[in-house]
């Protein structure tokens, strides 16, 4: 918020003075302008209050007039050109709103007919998806867990137990009024983008995003192991995701945890920080 401080010494703005003013307010302004040298005028208690009437404007609330006042006389030529621009702007606005609507609305015949045009207009700046906790909120919690294989100097390979990476995130989120993106979004979205791009039964990639999402997941895990003290001898990692249904209200029957275990992924040199 701005503070009203146009009372500071300076040339009083000729045209930027607010128009009609209510009694106390106008008095305050003119005293302030005149009181360049004089000590601060003692404001009377009544005027120190908020404007009695909502909407009564202090100068600070009066918008700046532009170099061209809105009520200035304009020639027919100027008005015509302005009108042309206005029509153009309104058309672009309607086109934009139309495409965003098609993009945002649940898939329908119209949005399928205009799929290509919508994509051209909307990507990359106006992409959006408002299926928030919808159609249904997730009915299960997942925990991404990982284990590592480290090759020692003598050639032996040591396999670690499962460490709960989601559990670490949750520790940071709990009790935090403003959780970090790194805890709340990183693994959550990395996993959902992986599952979008991979077949659940045999982990084969669907579409072109497969390798990219797999690499992202691998790098996240490698970085987490690095944070826990692993170095470049970390040879490969394996991920499993434990899914526990929230369960129906009432808590019965006791939900059972299911596991989806991915294969061993070898680390690449540039996976490390």
């Amino acid at each position: 918020m701005q503070s009203p401080d146009d009372a500071a010494p300076g040339q009083p703005a000729d045209r930027s003075q607010p128009g009609p003013q209510a009694g106390t307010t106008a008095v305050g302004t003119s005293t302030a302008d005149a009181a360049d040298r004089a000590p601060v005028p003692e404001p009377d208690p009544a005027s120190a209050r908020i404007p009695a009437q909502a909407g009564e404007r202090a100068p600070v609330d009066t918008p700046t007039e532009t170099a061209v006042p809105s009520d200035e006389r304009r020639s027919t030529a100027v008005r015509s050109i302005s009108a042309l621009f206005a029509i153009l702007a309104i058309l672009v606005t309607l086109v934009h709103v139309f495409f965003v609507f098609l993009h945002v609305a649940p898939s329908n015949t119209l949005s399928q007919d205009y799929r290509k045009e919508t994509g051209t207009w909307v990507y990359p700046y106006f992409e959006q998806n408002w299926a928030l906790f919808a159609p249904n909120p997730m009915s299960e919690n997942f925990r991404l867990q990982a284990q590592s294989r480290v090759r020692n100097a003598d050639g032996t390979v040591v396999e670690s137990g499962w460490s709960d990476l989601t559990g670490d995130d949750l520790k940071h989120i709990r009790g935090n009024p403003y959780p970090s993106k790194a805890d709340q979004n990183m693994i959550r979205r990395a996993w959902s983008s992986y599952t979008d791009a991979h077949e659940a039964k045999d982990e084969t990639a669907i579409g072109t995003r497969g390798p990219l999402t797999q690499r992202y997941l691998r790098r996240i895990v490698v970085h987490r192991f690095q944070d826990a003290g692993a170095d470049r001898r970390l040879e490969s990692i394996r991920i499993r995701v434990a899914t526990t249904p929230v369960g129906k209200p009432g808590g019965k029957p006791e939900p059972e945890t299911a596991y989806r275990t991915l294969g061993w992924w070898e680390t690449k040199p540039d996976d490390f920080r």
């Binding site: 503070s3 500071a8 703005a13 700046t64 621009f85 990507y123 408002w130 928030l132 919690n141 920080r273």
Partner: protein, 431 residues
């Protein structure tokens, strides 16, 4: 033709009158939208709100910045480029992989958001702000959530609005010097900042080649707008013929009004779509949705509280249904004043709940700022004057505390130290 056949003449005159009426209406409307700047206070509030959301986010993630957007990110710059290549995305952060560049852009983003909130050369700042928001979003798309998307959209739309006409350093400067927004002498600093903004825009969004892509889209506009942009910015150094000034002002006004319409439509789309998707869900219909939402571990900073609330089935049904009704009906409620304000109050309550219970304060703040667009001007001014009155009243009670409080005020940057206290004191006399 004058009096021969009465019947066709009556028909013609009715037709003529209708035509005249439509024509007059059209002319009046086109005149109005290109001379009258609508919702000046609301757009200023949006500027302050969204600027703060981004600024606070950057400061909050300062110690995680390298992990989220920087050199230590699991989403490496090359991966980001690969993904963005497919959708034509851009990011200033991907211009260079050096640590120095990253830190520089991060600092610049903080400074730009702060200046945007304060409204210093607002138009140029709003363009730079949009560039920064786009850049951080695109750099790590898989780090974003709904709140980031709202912020991204609004940052782009705000660049088209005149959101610095009130409650800004620009407005203060105009009051003090009498130099109004426009062209001619006195706008040199503004021109310089505008040129900087155009260079940043050209750098961020530039096309791969100099052959223009024939496919017209917003991305295409972003790629080339800096060329006329530089010319326009330079042109502002001179006073232009009055008629050119008038056309320019008309264009600025109509673009502002259209952008505000788009922002309003966007808020309605968000609620409408969120509601329509929920209507399709069985959990929202049988009233158990809140039970599931409150049991999601990633959205439970206070699990004890969430679980206790989730156990209350009646409350869950009530809140679930209320959410869906308000979201689906939001656009219709806007047309009835009293219902509209009730809806906004309920929505803001909902957002406070989401912020605390689900640990999504940035998302909630972004949505609440969007709702504020529909608040009446008188209410905004009343609130503003109350806030300032409280602040200054406290200041006068403890004059010793003037220094730290003045730092919150944009006036702290005023060259004359003596006007600090004086300004505050007189302001309280007025406000």
């Amino acid at each position: 033709m004058t009096s021969a056949e009465p019947q066709p003449r009556v028909a013609a005159s009715v037709y003529r009158r209708a035509e005249d009426a439509v024509g007059a209406w059209l002319v009046r409307t086109l005149d109005t939208v290109s001379t009258r700047t609508f919702a000046v206070h609301q757009s200023a509030l949006l500027r302050i709100g969204y600027g703060l959301v981004f600024l606070v986010g950057l400061i909050r993630e300062y110690f995680n910045r390298r992990e989220i957007w920087g050199d230590q990110s699991a989403w490496s710059p090359d991966m980001a480029r690969e993904l963005l290549g497919g959708i034509g995305g851009v990011s200033l952060l991907l211009e260079s992989d050096s640590r120095l560049w990253f830190e520089g852009v991060y600092l610049a983003a903080i400074v730009i958001s702060a200046l945007f909130v304060l409204g210093w050369h607002t138009r140029a700042m709003s363009i730079l702000f949009a560039i920064m928001v786009v850049s951080f979003n695109s750099r790590s798309i898989l780090m974003t959530d709904g709140g980031d998307t709202v912020l991204l959209l609004m940052a782009i739309y705000l660049a088209f609005t005149a959101c610095g006409r009130v409650w800004s350093l620009d407005a203060r400067r105009a009051r003090r010097t009498g130099i109004r927004p426009g062209t001619g002498p006195g706008h040199e600093v503004g021109v310089l900042v505008a040129l900087l903004a155009m260079v940043a825009l050209g750098t961020t969004c530039r096309a791969d080649s100099w052959t223009p892509d024939p496919e017209f889209s917003f991305a295409f506009v972003c790629q080339w707008i800096w060329v006329p942009g530089i010319a326009v910015a330079f042109g502002a150094l001179w006073r232009l013929p009055r008629q050119v000034e008038q056309v320019r002002a008309g264009l600025v006004t109509v673009v502002h009004n259209c952008a505000l319409f788009v922002i309003a439509a966007e808020v309605c789309f968000i609620y409408g779509a969120a509601g329509l998707y929920k209507v399709q869900g069985s959990y929202w219909q049988d009233g158990t949705a809140m039970h599931y939402v409150l049991n999601l571990e990633y959205f439970a900073p206070w699990p004890g509280l969430s679980h206790r609330l989730a156990e209350n089935a009646e409350m869950g049904v009530l809140i679930g249904y209320l959410t869906v009704f308000i979201q689906v009906g939001f656009v219709f409620m806007l047309f009835a004043k009293r219902v509209k304000y009730a809806a906004i109050v309920v929505l803001i309550g909902m957002h406070i709940g989401i912020a605390i219970l689900l640990g999504l304060p940035a998302f909630s703040a972004s949505m609440s700022v969007g709702d504020a667009l529909f608040l009446p001007t008188a209410f905004l001014i009343w609130t503003r004057s109350r806030v300032i009155a409280r602040l200054t009243a406290r200041l006068r009670r403890r004059p010793a505390a003037a220094k730290p409080a003045a730092a919150v005020d944009p006036k702290a940057s005023a060259p004359d130290p003596s006007d600090g206290l004086e300004g505050v004191a007189t302001a309280s006399g007025r406000a």
